[in-house]
Symmetry: C2
């Protein structure tokens, strides 16, 4: 018999119980917030037609980034790399049948053929929330309010929602005398400000440069005077009071219709955010925010964690009014605004900050098996515990008490119940507090209050349920 080597594919991740449980807790919080705001769940398949995913003429780079193949029906198909393209397909396909506006959220795996790195996988769980079919800035503010609510529900500390508008940087370009084409690329250059600094931005706005690896990076070809105008904008007060930044930008860009429109939209969003109850300290206007993705057309926003600045953004989104043009034709866009978060990535960030939350999956009590002939009684005890709302399992393996205790320890089960011959004779049961044992072992008995609690105690069988509930900190009947 030829055997197969068991292996996890490169870039893939198995969801061990700790991660799987943390995911489920995060998903439950996210869904509860979406539900409160009246967003509806909408699922879609993992597979889509390849041209739906990448357009009719994908570049080799685009093709390299997705998992794609020809199926047995001779269709070119691919695995979705985000949840936005499937949304565009759905909106285009069902536009007569969808509510108007269409407010949906989705949680699903997406697939990217990226170079695997620590914390970056080729399949990962993503959450998207979008409102399609309205140009109202209240929709943009609402998406931001949902993000804020999700982060608060997850007890994330010190997050900051940064907000700007793509129209600002584009309008700034024409304001500085750049061509429309050049102006459209300014956001891409400004996006490098934080990572590479002002000098690099100046070079890329101008003639370009040769980078450290010897590669030639083309510049936008702006003149010194044009660049100076853009730098005036970059020198405006930022990272402080949002209204002050807003006024300064308005004063500088006066007369440029696009930039003025962008600023007006930002102002509207700021007003709405207060009405939505987003705490004033949670959000700010960031004039330097560019969001380096081509499809944004208006407001853009992202979330950074003050305590983990190296992580970049953990939540991002914006308005993308060209959403369905791939399917419906140029100029046939539908206004849309949305946000995405990589659930696993956010979990990893929170774990690094010690804010991942607690709560374990699995049993609270292990019923040990001291006499295999009495299995039926052990099973009935576990059932009794479950009926009292206590997650319980009977040890189903072979081996003696020490192996069973080790099993409970391995799984982090807090309590083990032992009913052996002695206990049976006396109508008693022994409870071993595994959790307390672990804490005492971890801190070498330094805490007096733990010493006072017994790691193991015996109670009459009739009091077992009460004793377990008490030890688990469960209150009430």
């Amino acid at each position: 018999m030829v055997t197969v080597k068991p292996r996890l594919l490169k870039g893939m991740q198995d969801g061990w119980p700790e991660l799987a449980s943390a995911r489920r807790r995060m998903i439950a919080q996210i869904e509860s917030v979406c539900q409160q705001f009246g967003f509806l769940p909408f699922d879609s398949p993992a597979m889509e037609a390849l041209d739906a995913l990448l357009g009719p003429e994908p570049t080799p780079e685009q093709l390299m980034g997705v998992f794609h193949f020809v199926n047995h029906d001779d269709e070119a198909v691919g695995l979705r790399y985000d949840l936005t393209v499937p949304l565009a397909r759905i909106v285009s396909l069902y536009r007569q049948d969808l509510p108007q506006p269409f407010r949906r959220y989705q949680l699903g795996s997406v697939f990217r053929f990226d170079k695997p790195e620590p914390g970056r996988f080729r399949e990962f769980l993503q959450f998207d929330v979008d409102t399609v079919g309205t140009a109202s800035m209240a929709a943009d503010a609402e998406i931001i309010a949902v993000i804020d609510r999700v982060l608060r529900a997850l007890s994330v500390a010190n997050y900051k929602i940064r907000l700007s508008n793509r129209k600002l940087l584009t309008g700034l370009g024409t304001f500085a005398g750049a061509s429309v084409e050049q102006a459209r690329s300014i956001y891409r250059v400004v996006d490098k400000l934080e990572k590479y600094g002002r000098e690099r931005v100046r070079q890329e706005l101008g003639p370009g440069l040769i980078d450290a690896s010897g590669d030639r990076i083309a510049g936008l070809g702006l003149s010194e005077r044009q660049i100076a105008r853009i730098e005036e904008f970059l020198d405006l007060p930022n990272e402080g009071d949002s209204l002050e930044s807003l006024q300064a930008a308005r004063a500088l860009l006066k007369g440029n219709a696009l930039a003025e429109e962008g600023l007006k939209e930002v102002e509207e969003i700021l007003q709405h955010l207060a009405a939505f109850g987003v705490p004033r300290a949670s959000y700010m206007l960031d004039l330097h925010l560019a969001r380096g993705i081509a499809y944004y057309t208006g407001p853009v926003f992202e979330v950074t964690l003050a305590d983990l600045p190296s992580y970049g953004s953990v939540f991002g989104g914006g308005r993308y009014d060209g959403l369905v043009e791939r399917f419906m034709g140029e100029g046939q866009g539908v206004p849309a605004v949305g946000a995405s978060v990589g659930v696993d990535r956010l979990l990893a960030a929170l774990a690094e900050l010690g804010q991942a939350g607690s709560g374990r999956a699995g049993a609270q009590v292990l019923v040990t098996v001291m006499d295999a002939g009495r299995m039926v009684e052990y099973i009935a005890l576990a059932r009794e515990l479950r009926e009292a709302g206590i997650a319980a399992e009977v040890y189903l393996g072979s081996g003696g008490l020490s192996k069973q205790v080790k099993y409970a320890d391995r799984l982090g089960i807090p309590l083990a119940v032992i009913i052996g011959e002695d206990e049976l004779k006396r109508g008693e049961a022994t409870v071993k507090d595994m959790e307390l044992g672990r804490r005492i072992a971890a801190e070498a008995g330094s805490r007096e209050e733990w010493k006072e609690q017994k790691q193991q105690f015996t109670v009459p069988r009739g009091e077992l349920l009460r004793a377990i509930r008490e030890r688990l900190g469960m209150t009430g009947g």
Copy 2:
């Protein structure tokens, strides 16, 4: 601009809010039961190495059944077609690190290149629960108890868990004088009993037949006398009292070690089921149960719905002790038992029976926008409702009241709040009971009690929250 035709791939399914919500409710119930029994969640990627999925030398038929391709790393990969093969891969890969026994559940999409039929899709959500690493029949009984608990949690009526043991039919074969090879195939023939009847089974046990389409169906080649022996078994009392069937089978098969072992295992499971608290009416021994899948080695079980017999089984499983042999070599099996259910298939069955359960996703209240200049106030009202635990949304589209009311109707939102110029002047708010309106419309006002309730009423603004809570049937503060 070349546009792409938006389309859903053949055999795929979009999860509209109603389905997506029903799925989430079912998943929540399933997970809660697994949690109560101490099963741990374990996720795995949708993609696996192709040889892990199908073995080192897959047949063309096997390859036709799965989505597979060579990825950019030149690896032959495929999308999982069930959750059992990934489990085998996980157990083989991590056997040193997994708890012993390893009790896990998984919910995930699986992919099959089947011919699409109504209710049969190429991607569907599956739930599996398994215990790996123990030969104890208590584990088999526990899996059945989990199934029973899940079905009860889902309020499924009139389900029956049918139970047997693969060893019975195999042992019966050698008992009747068949070769070991012939005996191993008897379950495949008996599996056709319900669909094709006794005469067909007799032919397939014997010389074979030419079926209606002219295809030659090979038989096992048993003699008349051997077939008569097998028919004696098929004539035993079945579908009645399980203990009577058990005793009759024991009397008939006396002396055949394998069959006796199978019967002993069944008896043990029956004893354990009672201890687990599975209601006596929920399960039965079914001597004809074959479960036509090769890998079962011991107990097999499935669930049928008495009110939907044509649907076949909605939940199935059994013991498959050869689980990891593909990876670890013949005879290196690890004992395992588990069950699977197609979540979407079970949902479809329950929907057909009118037992799908209720509960809609989305807002309970739509705050209509009568004056776009007062958007901030409408947003603040929705926020106030959410803070009182009421899911609420502000209408974000354009258009007047009738369009907004239509939107609420389309989404099944129960209540709409209207604050127009008149209400503002008088410090009031109008509530429109959309749900009541729909019920009156549906039954043409035939019910007196509905007439007594007003479809639309106006209250002072300060009493709005109370009035809404009352209309929604929410109790308490």
